[in-house]
Symmetry: C2
Subunit: 162 residues, 2 copies
């Protein structure tokens, strides 16, 4: 029995008290971009209700072409206008460098990834440059409310990066 | 007052009963790749506990270079071995085509996105090709348990794509 099987069992219990369907467009017009970290339950951290806001997540909560793609679809087709970025303390992205990670992959597989690993050494600096990537994109129409935060995995609190 | 401000207020309430910190590596060694859709509370749908599993999300729950990047970091640096993919019924990605979406952006901004929008017209087919992209990647070492599902937004149930 895998963990996947256990989660499927949880899903059957979840469905028993499920009430749906809700509408497709997010009712609160927000898109969140957060790290994939297992300790970040974004719905709980922000008190998101079902159907309220898009949640985009990846290693680091960084902004690459795929987040620009998701945000463009979120804003242009589904009506969101606010963006919330969330990095967090004790992040794995602080523990390595792109060069070392890509070299280790090349040493093992013979192939160097053609993508950046997007490691960073300063949370606030990376939040700011993630915001800058969004604001520099010609494809994201609504950038009046793009705010970035660091989630503290010890306290549960978000602190805004200014 | 923006929705972002309301969510920050929710966060202060969340932190009052928060107990942390948990360890960085996911305790259940799973990475989930799901759509950003606002109705998918992945923690609730799978019964994920805090600190258990990585959660990666984007428009569609598709697999692009950025998901390969996140999965490579998840498996190679943080010890995950199982992957769960989640698409869902009533998905926005079923409602447009790449060509039309990119043309509308070009018409408005004068610039055609250099990325694919990743729209699809069949959920099961796209889950299968997302699994195929993961298995075809030289950078993802653990592909013995890569399973894909469609979440029904009307019932709350996951159905496996085989």
């Amino acid at each position: 029995m895998t963990v996947t099987d256990e989660y499927l069992s949880n899903n059957r219990a979840y469905a028993e008290s499920f009430s749906g369907p809700l509408p497709l467009p997010p009712s609160q017009h927000v898109a969140v971009v957060a790290c994939m970290d297992a300790r970040l339950d974004v719905y709980a951290i922000l008190g998101l209700g079902a159907g309220e806001s898009h949640v985009i997540r990846n290693a680091g909560g960084v902004v690459t072409d795929d987040e620009i793609r998701s945000l463009a679809i979120s804003q242009r087709l589904l009506g969101t206008t606010e963006i919330i970025l969330i990095h967090h303390t004790d992040c794995g992205m602080l523990t390595f460098t792109d060069d070392d990670f890509k070299r280790s992959i090349q040493d093992e597989t013979g192939i160097k990834p053609e993508w950046a690993a997007e490691a960073f050494d300063d949370l606030d600096v990376d939040v700011r440059q993630s915001i800058a990537r969004i604001k520099a994109s010609p494809f994201i129409p609504h950038t009046d409310s793009v705010r970035g935060f660091v989630f503290d995995v010890a306290t549960g609190l978000l602190t805004e990066v200014v």
